[in-house]
Amino acid sequence: MYISLLISKYLRRKLAPMFAAMAVTLCTAMVIIVISVMGGFLDMMRAAAQTLTGQVTIYSDVTGFAGHQEIAKRLLIQPEIESAAPLVRSYGLIKLHESTQTVEVVGIEPESFNTVTNYQSSLYWDNQHFLNMLDKQIPQEELTSPELKKRYADYKAAYEKMDLDDAGMNFTIPDIWVREGIEQGCVLGIAVNPWNLRNSEGKYDVANTALGLPMTITVLPMTQGGSIQTLSPATARFTLVNEFKSGLYDIDSNRIYVPMAKLQAMLDMHQQKIWDKFDPQTGQPVGDATIKPDRVSELMIKGKDGVPLADVKATVTRVLQSYLAEHPNTPSLWIQTWQERHATLLGAVEREKGMLTILFAIISLVAVAMIGVIFYMIVQQKTKDIGTLRALGASRKGIASIFLGYGLSVGIIGSMVGLALAASIVLNLNEIQDLLFVWFGFKMWNPQIYYFDRIPSQLDHMEVTVIVICAILSSVVGAIVPAILAAIQDPVESLRYE
């Protein structure tokens, strides 16, 4: 009872424990923030990697492979498989706003692609969002004359009719954007267009978007043998019908989605009929044509909910082996899970997280030493009190308990304040960054370096609990030596202490 009374009095009346608690607070907050950001970064990378590439991918070299329809058909009847989607991947140039950029051109069938990835939800513009942004940028009070108001109403009515989501899902061009000679739409990564800038709320403005504008895409076709064809580079015009934002900056700033069939045709990977004989007089083909099937770069596969990744991969491997046995001329194909595909990157981040945790744990030892020194000073200051308490009948254990309890209290207070501090920073990290940017023009998180355009963070309850417990234990450990020194003090010497 006297132990708790003295602990509470010492905590309230002394400056030194405040410094000790502050050291615990800062160490706790520091470790929680680092772990949360690294953990959030890792989780976002995992989620992005999984949603952008599917769970398991069958892929070939750059020349692509045929027979994807048959493989997909066989896969889809397996109980472990939910969906499969082919895609064609190439690199090319786009010309937009008179500026030319290199991009990754990905040909997709949006419907099947959406069943494997979260393509539809990554489409940035829907009608309501578009119109809201339009209203924000053209405030009603600026429409001063009836003529201006009518023009704006007509303009808005035209946009209200279109369906941006449908345009993104089918590459169809809304009536308002139809141009002669352009038949299909494309969907661009939100950060590819360099004029696309975010407003203070972190949203992209309508004013700078290239939506509805035509763009030219140029790719290099490749023969099935893997050489660049003697043909000229293939060029086609598309209308930008929507933009996507996956959250993975590397993808959002480099990728464009186009209809798969169109890209196959541009790359000479489409289905073709080949005749061996021609009429010498007319030059027309004679006899039956040989069908050269279309080729794709990848087949992305998603397993059913709850099916372990290893089982999905095993099923895909089994089905592919059976297909390859029947089609021995198929070029080499590989199977990778999303984890294997991104193993280098994920492994590096995981190791970095581990390294940082160890580094900060070592730094936290400094806090333990600091607590030890502070408590040693407190014990020195309290030498006379210790002698008095011993004269009043307090046991050595009781004296040690005062200082251990003191350390425990400092640990609990320090770690709780640290937790609150860390939680308030972690949960508002992006807002804090935005404020720093507005006030000082300083940006901590560069999306070009860190893949994601927002700082990822995630408070893991288990990790936070372990950190808080470690912080409390560290305080108690820091107080052990001073507590023992206090307990073994000679009461007579203590009473004489000046």
Binding site: D385, T388, L389, A391, L392
Partner: protein, 232 residues
Amino acid sequence: MTATAKQTTILQTQNLHKTYRTGGEDLHILQGVDMNVKSGEWLAILGASGSGKSTLLHLLGGLDRPSQGNVTYTQQNIYQLSRSAINQYRNHEVGFVFQFYHLLPELSALENVTIAGMISGNKQASSAKRKERAQMLLDQLGMSHRLRHRPNKLSGGERQRVAIARALLNEPKVLLADEPTGNLDADTGQQILDLFINLHKQGQTIVMVTHDQHVADLADRQLVLERGKLKS
């Protein structure tokens, strides 16, 4: 106080030695002290500075260990007791009053007194009863208006009254006072001595060490300690 009570020996030392080793040399503070304290008696131990009187008091109170010899309290050698029992002895059987008061600076006057009861760990003595007795003692010592004050807000005399109240809280059989007026002016010192006189009248056994003959004259009996030996 009855004559029988006065004749009962409550505290006794036999051939008590205490030697400190400092600077490679043995310093013989006490050299074979034999003495006894009778129940209800006020015993003054008179001696100059460095004569060993505080050391003797510490040994009587179980705060230190003798190099040789025994201290017997009600027929029991206290240095043969377990650690826990000797803590109990210091808490229950004796009460210390020091020259420099030794109050805990973070606690109020009332808390400084009640803490002696808290240390005893006697759960049956409720917090309310403990507080009631502490208030009663402080009231008797004229400190009822200073209960919430911390030691740095009290005068020397007031601090010593609080220290006496603390020593009396657990109703000790023996009050051990180490120069209780040594740090006070003459008037305040006399007020404190009056308190001891009152306590003695109520039957409290007191062992007081002092270098002041005037103070020693108030006691029932005087022993003179000179260079670690009792003067016969």
